[in-house]
């Protein structure tokens, strides 16, 4: 896999690791996600795909359902 490609989060497969490259959308939600640790630069692992998905970020797990408007781009990493 080309590790430089940016993917939307929903295309990540369960078990894969990725670095968040960009979170765009309404300011309120971008900052809310940042407070929870989901921001550009943070490393995450997709535990369960689909909406809502289950993510591992740092020491915590987040359940996330993304509605239209907020987009999370990630760069897959090997870990």
């Amino acid at each position: 896999m080309n590790l430089d490609t940016l993917l939307p989060l929903e295309l990540l497969r369960p078990g894969e690791w990725a670095d968040v490259a960009e979170v765009t959308g309404e300011a309120t939600w971008v900052s809310r996600l940042a407070e929870l640790g989901l921001r550009s630069g943070s490393r995450l692992r997709l535990l369960q795909a689909g909406w809502p998905c289950l993510l591992q970020i740092g020491g915590c797990r987040l359940s996330l359902r993304n509605e239209q408007g907020t987009q999370i781009l990630v760069r897959p990493v090997a870990y």
């Binding site: 309404e26 300011a27 309120t28 939600w29 971008v30 900052s31 809310r32 996600l33 940042a34 407070e35 929870l36 640790g37 989901l38 921001r39 550009s40 630069g41 535990l47 369960q48 689909g50 909406w51 809502p52 289950l54 970020i57 740092g58 020491g59 915590c60 797990r61 987040l62 359940s63 996330l64 359902r65 993304n66 509605e67 239209q68 408007g69 907020t70």
Partner: protein, 799 residues
């Protein structure tokens, strides 16, 4: 130092960091729960002693940040800034952080550092972090962060002495602190450093500060710029006019030009600084260890197994609410009846006694009878919440709930409403999105609660059971009644979310906390808090409405120049009946009417034995002819019948009875006569009243819901027989109750909001009379239309 004014400490932290546990450990038993005006979140207050000083400890609502987006989130900011009315500014803020997830937790801490109050960081769950192989150098962290850091284990009460000491020292003021920092021995409690924001931002904030006056705290100006459309912006615009919004927009543009756009700039500045200050303080294993939480989650969040386990669990909770609460509820209602009986013997008959017994005591009983269900449900909810399961349940149910515009967090409140809408509505507090919460509250009363059950049982048992009906029919109709709520509630939520509560669908994001053993103390406390809140909040309104219905049924008392009022006549007849019974007893006839079965006047319960004896006198097997006891029974029976008819006549001419007659044209299309209309009217404060009112109208004495519920064969009860015999006033050949009428009445009860407690709780939770009024209106309209459609279709099909 004892003469010092009381010092104040505020406790703040992310959800699931053990904040409540720490609060309980520091403040002991003396706690008060309070609401600030205009917000739904609660703040707790307690007292903490350390170093001979008493602190007032304020437990602020759990939050991930101090970037207020709603009045609820503004509370924490206002309290720490000393802008909350009637609240002095805290002397120290304790910021509790989860050691196993330090960086993210410090985000909130960096915001607290900007508020200009001494801060102490409580590093909680240090044991969990250690188990994961994370090692934290507390002293170094404290030096680099610039505030005291104390490692604690709140659940084991470890490290609390050191924390108390640090709090005390931090609150003792800047003088002492500067001495210490001069000696270089300890960190200053007042933050000397904080996350650096771009120069252009700081300049703009200074400028705004000068322009708007010094009394607006600098922190709020920072929030004005950083939170686009946030609550600070709304509040400052209301105070200073639209111009301020433009100014904020200009600063944002300047920031974007400088390459640090809002909102990314804040996350970048804070997390960047956090990375710097934690550098060298934290050691992590190269590979993250697989924790117990990971293993449990593999099953509990699994799409198939997780869902199955969740459904089983919910079924068990339900079953418990139904079965465990029933005996306690019976004890309460029996106790109420016994007390009424006792008082009735002591007090002279008259309006005052009737008000006290049938209005106030019945009203109090109607409130207290809900308590067991509320306490049991909240005990379960508290256990599930505290052990960390609730977030998993919300995750599992989110997909389903998203289809009707809600989120997974709405599931449990809706499900709880099938037991009782009151605790269900209280349980919506976990939903942080205001529109979602409101939509959930508004549709929760549509779910078929347990109080509707007696109505269903009575009508199904009377009109849809027996010869000529399929065996599976009663079960099917019962299921259909529950299905109405289950289908309509989500549909209604969808309609509300598309119309009245329209707005952008929020991103659903929820933290899955680590699993832990729930603390019994916390569970007990939450249980008692919710019970007390219910009594205090809903109790008064339920009581008031019960008294109103009582009055409408009591007055006018009738009577005139030739006849005394009804209640006096009934009391007199009652006396005759009692004398008769005494004679019987003296004559050696064992009265079938039990001692307690004296039907004293109005609403008094004729007990089961009394009624059974009255209608079906026990005949010895093989007994022939008319024996003396049998004659005596018939005499008693006749007297009792006379009393019941007098009560019925009284009720028919009461104000409520007249209202029933007045609305007959309106309920006729539903297939109801004025008696059913009146019973439905009387049951608006509490739907379970309908059985009792039907009993009064059909002259059977007071009918008890429990009796209908527990009867082996409902169709054999006196009320069922009387209802079958009922005929239209204007056409005595036509029975009132046909299958379409029974169905229309059931559908009406399934959809109507006949519950003052629910409306009272909605009023308390939404802080507005508009939403209960809306709920009442839409549900009544829905119920009327539903009943109309059912009756008319049923009639067409030849019912």
């Amino acid at each position: 130092m004892g003469s010092d004014p009381k010092r104040i400490a505020a406790l703040i932290g992310n959800p699931n960091t053990g904040k409540t546990t720490l609060f309980n450990a520091l403040s002991g038993l003396r706690q008060r729960v309070g609401n600030y005006p205009g917000v739904t979140v609660e703040t707790k207050k307690g007292q903490m002693c350390c170093g001979g000083q008493t602190f007032e400890l304020i437990d602020l609502p759990g939050t991930y940040s101090l970037s207020p987006r709603s009045p609820d989130e503004m509370v924490a900011v206002d309290v720490i800034l000393g802008r909350q009315q009637g609240e002095a500014r805290p002397d120290v803020v304790i910021s509790i952080v989860d050691a196993s997830n330090l960086e993210r937790n410090l985000y909130l801490t960096t915001q607290v550092l900007e508020l200009g109050v001494p801060v102490v960081v409580a590093l909680n769950m240090i044991d969990v972090a250690t188990a994961q192989g994370i090692r934290i150098d507390t002293e170094r962290l404290s030096r680099q962060l610039g505030v005291p850091v104390v490692a604690i284990q709140a659940n084991k009460k470890k490290g609390l002495e050191a924390l108390r000491e640090a709090i005390c020292r931090a609150a003792s003021g800047a003088a002492l602190a500067s001495q210490e920092s001069a000696r270089g021995t300890n960190a200053a409690p007042l933050a000397t450093h904080r996350p650096p924001f771009p120069e252009v931002f700081e300049c703009a904030i200074h400028q705004l500060h000068r322009e708007l006056g010094e009394d607006i705290p600098e922190y709020l100006l920072r929030r004005l710029v950083l939170d686009v459309g946030g609550w600070t912006e709304q509040r400052l615009v209301a105070q200073f006019g639209e111009g301020i919004r433009q100014k904020a927009q200009e600063v944002r543009q300047r920031l974007a030009q400088a390459g640090c756009p809002v909102p990314a700039v804040e996350a970048r500045a804070r997390y960047g600084w956090i990375r710097e200050v934690t550098a060298g303080c934290i050691q992590r294993p190269a590979q993250r260890a697989v924790t117990w939480t990971d293993r449990i989650d593999r099953v509990l969040t699994h799409k198939v197994w997780g869902t199955l386990i969740f459904l089983t669990l919910m079924f068990l909770v339900f079953q418990a609410i139904f079965t465990w609460a029933r005996p306690i509820m019976k004890v309460i209602s029996d106790g109420k009846d016994a007390l009424a009986e006792l008082l009735r013997g002591q007090l002279p008959p008259g309006p005052f006694t009737a008000l006290l017994l049938d209005g106030v005591l019945e009203g109090v009983g109607a409130v207290v009878v809900f308590l067991p269900q509320i306490l049991i449900l909240f005990a379960f909810l508290a256990v599930l919440e505290d052990c960390g399961y609730m977030a998993r349940a919300a995750f599992l149910m989110d997909k389903l709930m998203a289809r009707c515009g809600l989120s997974g967090k709405s599931f449990i409140p809706l499900l709880s409403s099938m037991a009782c809408a009151v605790p269900g509505i209280l349980a919506t507090r976990v939903i942080e999105n205001r529109r979602d919460r409101l939509a959930t509250i508004l549709v929760a009363p549509l779910m078929s609660c347990s109080a509707r059950l007696p109505v269903y049982i009575l009508l199904i048992g009377t009109f849809l059971t027996g010869p000529g009906f399929a065996r599976w029919l009663p079960g099917l109709v019962m299921f259909a009644m529950y299905a109405i709520g289950l289908v309509l509630a989500p549909l209604m939520a969808l309609v509300l979310k598309r119309t009245l509560l329209r707005g952008q669908t929020p991103v659903f994001v929820l933290e899955m906390p680590l699993y832990k053993v729930p603390s019994p103390r916390l569970v007990l406390r939450r249980m008692l808090d919710s019970g007390w809140a219910f009594l205090r909040r809903a109790g008064t309104l339920i009581l008031a409405s019960m008294v109103v219905v009582w009055a409408l049924l009591y007055f006018p008392r009738g009577g005139g120049p030739e006849q005394p009022p009804y209640d006096v006549r009934i009391a007199a007849m009652q006396k005759e009946l009692d004398d008769l019974k005494d004679q019987g007893r003296a004559g050696g006839v064992n009265s079938p009417v039990n001692e307690q079965g004296r039907a004293e006047g109005v609403n008094s319960p004729v007990n089961e034995q009394g009624r059974a004896g009255g209608v079906n006198p026990p005949v010895e097997p093989g007994e022939q002819g008319v024996s003396p006891p049998r004659l005596f029974y018939q005499l008693l029976e006749g007297k009792e019948q006379q009393i019941n008819e007098c009560i019925a006549e009284w009720k028919r001419q009461s104000y409520l009875g007249r209202m029933g007659k007045a609305i007959e044209p309106a309920v006729r299309p539903l297939g109801w006569d004025w008696k059913i209309g009146m019973a439905a009217l009387a049951s608006f404060p509490a739907r379970e009243v309908v059985i009792g009112t039907l009993g009064i109208i059909y002259s059977t004495g007071k009918q008890d819901s429990d009796e209908i519920r527990n009867a082996a064969n409902v169709a054999d009860t006196l009320l069922a027989r009387r209802m079958k015999e009922a005929r239209w006033d204007d056409d005595p050949t036509r029975p009132v109750f046909t299958i379409p009428t029974a169905l229309s009445l059931m559908v009406f009860f399934a959809l109507c909001c006949q519950c003052a407690s629910t409306l009272a709780v909605i009023w308390r939770e939404t802080h507005s009379w508009r939403w209960p009024a809306f709920t009442f209106t839409y549900m009544t309209v829905l119920a009327y239309l539903g009943a109309l459609v059912v009756y008319q279709i049923g009639r067409l099909l030849g019912g």
